[in-house]
Amino acid sequence: REIMLLRNLGLPSRPKPVSPPHVPSILWKLFNQRMGPSTAKKNANLCFVEDFNVPGSTVRAISDQGRFVNPHSTNPTTTVCLEKRLFFNISIMEKEERVTMGRLEVRFGQNTYYGRLFDLRLYRITQLSLKGMGNQKMSRKLLTAQTFRLLHKSLYFNLTETCQSWQDPRKNLGLTLEISPRKEGSLLAGQLDECQGIQTFLYTSLLAVTLDSAQCTMSRAKR
């Protein structure tokens, strides 16, 4: 009987979280906006997420299931400080759901005003290599590249289009994140502390907003 009830709520079975992550503050904020004591419940539009200005009825903070890669294992001369595969299992979404927003957060443990500059590159994996072939047969497409200083603890990237295409599970091969030090004039290549600051890397997380068309019928605009 319980399973039947859970299915009606869109859950295949009773969730059994193994290592439940912390609840992101943005989700607490959205929850309190909708369900808090001061909420005007009757007027709340639960099919629109005002904080992101997108239509949506479900917001998910999806855990990254990717692994770290030792960049020196495939290329001993590389200057890359951090290389990580990112994989977000979005097959958990129901068929009726349409992604209206995808935002990747790259989180660091601390920020430093005088921190050094880094280059960040985010690739989308378009073809995987066979086991044991390393990165040689893996093809990837550059999604974004930017230079940053650790002024803030988090960096955000718009992945809406990528998430929309990932709804076809065959197209979801994940991402690769690479961070390398930017060569500044006063610094010499090969310095030991080149990667200092990046060790504070904590985690990546994907915030996805979806709209269930069956649940949220959009009203026609008034003439």
Partner: protein, 113 residues
């Protein structure tokens, strides 16, 4: 705060308070918030004649009339929710993701015949 206050005899169709605590149904390990909510329910009689306060539908009025002629064949209308509201639930799914989802028709605001 939901709906109008109605002073009806206790056996008449009206909204009854029901607070569902997720801990009581064993869902506390994966539902993060709220801890519970006012689900409420409808219970009571819809007798002849249906007064305004019973929120009788046109169908219920005619069914009541038919019942007065054929009490054994036609039952009295029943008491059901006529206005419901959604709630939002914050929970963990099976992939250890945090989900904020809104569910329609979870809380009974008004009842009628």
């Amino acid at each position: 705060s939901h709906g109008r206050l109605k002073f009806l005899p206790s056996n008449m169709c009206k909204r009854r308070r029901l607070y569902v605590e997720f801990g009581d149904v064993g869902w506390q390990k994966w539902v993060i918030a709220p801890r519970g909510y006012f689900a409420n329910y409808c219970q009571g009689e819809c007798p002849y004649p249906l007064t305004d306060v019973l929120n009788g539908s046109n169908h219920a009025i005619l069914q009541t009339l038919a019942h007065s002629f054929e009490p054994n064949d036609v039952p009295l209308p029943c008491c059901i929710p006529i206005k419901m509201s959604p709630i939002s639930v914050l929970f963990y799914d099976n992939g250890d993701n945090v989900v904020l989802k809104h569910y329609e028709n979870m809380s009974v605001d008004e009842c009628g015949c």
